[in-house]
């Protein structure tokens, strides 16, 4: 089980005098970074600062083996093989890379369909939208269920939307607004049955729950390092090896080739085919260290901890009559993200008052404007939890809400 007192000591920010008494509830936006990750990146910069790609001196060899070692750690984290792990600059970079790569590989023809959901983050939705416009494709949207529990996708409608005309089923594994853990395996099965590719945005789930790409059965998956205790500026794109080998890359340059002549190019084998340019070496090393750190604590334990905090938060929030929740209210089906509005008070004003009470949250559309529209709001406040979140953090949130009520009465 998680001992948050011990865990918080791993994070320098919580022990930083200036941020003493900070109640950090914005992990969905970016997580805190433990000293293990910082040390691993510092070691690179201080003791073996060299480029990768087989330079012929020990420091460069160490950089190469550490970078490729990080790739293996990420592969193990996902139950994939190293050749299936591509390092990118982040989740958005991964999304753009795979969408463009699929397009570049002539996967789509006019009239083909892409199925996605109403709860997508702009990082995937916008590339898909632009792709559809360029290739004259039709985008179909899986809605949320109208009745029953809020935050569930309608899988009956999903089954109807995914047809032999569907070439790609691309969806968010976990919503950054409702916190819903979607039925990833089920949607991938639906895709497979019609011969469509499946692509999962796992950015909110990676590092918060166990992820096994073989069990989930997706063709492609991506996520960011900075939302799972890793550094900013690094992300992962996973793809089944046999698929990556067939795809044309979307980004070209050095390091991804085997041979370049004046007339043409022969690409390097996967995954390097997709890694043009000098990578974020330190970032990859840091992400590898984050995988080790989280696996040592146990992803199931982290998820269980989020469920406990969810239950506590829901019980306290439901006692405040002005709160309207825009998140999944079943503790086991929510990754640890609670979006809400306070009646009569604009989310930006709520966030300001939280900030004065040293409660860090985020208010806005959360890069999910289609979802906001579907929910009938322009913006919501969001509190999000992770392995270092405590009941005291939730109590501070509630006290902040009582203050909002007092100021705006």
């Amino acid at each position: 089980m998680i001992d948050t007192d011990t865990i918080k000591k791993d994070f320098p920010l919580f022990n930083n005098e200036e941020e003493n008494g900070l109640f950090y509830l914005d992990s969905s936006s970016s997580s805190q970074t433990p000293v293990h990750v910082l040390d691993s990146m510092d070691a690179y910069y201080r003791t073996y600062r060299a480029n990768t790609r087989r330079g012929q001196y020990p420091m460069s060899e160490k950089a190469e083996s550490s970078y490729e070692g990080a790739r293996i750690l990420v592969a193990q984290f996902l139950n994939a093989s190293a050749r299936e792990i591509i390092f990118t600059a982040g989740a958005t970079a991964s999304a753009n890379l795979i969408v463009y790569s699929l397009e570049n590989s002539d996967i789509f023809k006019e009239g083909d369909e892409i199925v996605t959901t109403i709860m997508e983050h702009h990082s995937l939705f916008v590339p898909l939208q632009k792709l559809a416009k360029r290739k004259k494709l039709i985008i179909k949207i899986i809605p949320m269920k109208e009745q029953e529990t809020f935050g569930e996708l309608d899988y009956v409608i999903a089954k109807e939307l995914i047809t032999p005309k569907t070439k790609l089923v691309a969806f968010v594994g976990v919503s950054n607004v409702t916190g819903t853990i979607n039925e990833m395996k089920e949607l991938c099965i639906m895709a497979r049955e019609v011969g469509a590719y499946s692509l999962i945005d796992a950015t909110q789930g990676a590092g918060h729950m166990p992820l096994d790409v073989k069990d989930i059965g997706c063709d492609f998956m991506f996520f960011a390092g900075h939302k799972m205790c890793g550094p900013v500026g690094i992300g992962v794109l996973y793809g089944k090896q046999e698929l990556l080998e067939k795809l044309e890359p979307g980004f070209y340059g050095g390091g991804m080739i085997e041979e370049v002549t004046l007339e043409g190019v022969k690409f390097a084998p996967v995954p390097h085919k997709f890694e043009a340019g000098t990578p974020n070496i330190a970032g990859a090393i840091g992400l590898g260290a984050a995988c080790v750190y989280l696996q040592k604590i146990g992803l199931e334990n982290i998820q269980k901890h989020s469920e406990e905090i969810n239950a506590y938060a829901l019980s306290r929030l439901s006692a405040i009559s002005e709160i309207k929740l825009y998140c999944h209210q079943s503790p086991e089906k929510n990754i640890g993200v609670m979006s809400f509005t306070v009646s009569g008070v604009h989310p930006h004003d709520v966030g300001e008052i939280f900030s004065r009470a040293h409660v860090a949250t985020r208010g806005g559309h959360h890069c999910a404007q289609p979802l906001m529209k579907a929910m009938g709001v322009s913006s919501v406040n969001r509190a999000s939890f992770y392995l270092y979140t405590t009941k005291e953090d939730i109590d501070a949130l509630v006290n902040g809400l009582l203050e909002v009520r007092r100021v705006f009465a």
Partner: protein, 130 residues
């Protein structure tokens, strides 16, 4: 913990709850919309001019946070009797003086929404950091 209510000084909360200029007028000479897409503040400014080109009536309607609505309401007071060319002379300091508080980066867009709507209408660049 007692909250520092600086940002929500009496005048901001008062203007937010009891605006003086928040309505869609029956007639107007100019209408311009402004939106902060990132936080959902949106408004429409309505102006009426006299025969000399000075602003006779200034109103707005919309939905948004206390800072954006209060700031715009106060701005409507300020511009009555002036000309539209004068919009170019409304700067950040004027807004923060008007509101009575320092405006941090996260509230800039809210505080300047009304002013930037007017500035855009006359072809001026918006206030605030990029």
């Amino acid at each position: 913990m007692a909250m520092d209510e600086e940002l929500y000084k009496q005048n901001i909360l008062d203007r937010y709850k009891n605006p003086r200029h928040k309505k869609v007028p029956e007639s107007f000479d100019m209408r311009e919309g402004g939106v902060n897409a990132s936080c959902g503040d949106s408004l429409m400014v309505f102006l009426k001019f006299d025969d000399n080109g000075k602003i006779l009536e200034a109103n707005f309607d919309g939905e948004g946070c206390a800072v954006s609505m209060a700031s715009t309401d106060m701005l409507m007071d300020k511009i009555i009797g002036t000309r539209m060319e004068d919009f170019a002379n409304i700067y950040e300091l004027d807004i923060s003086t008007m509101l009575g508080i320092d405006i941090g980066p996260s509230r800039e867009k809210c505080a300047y929404l009304g002013a930037n709507t007017l500035r855009r209408w006359v072809g001026e660049n918006p206030l605030g950091t990029i």
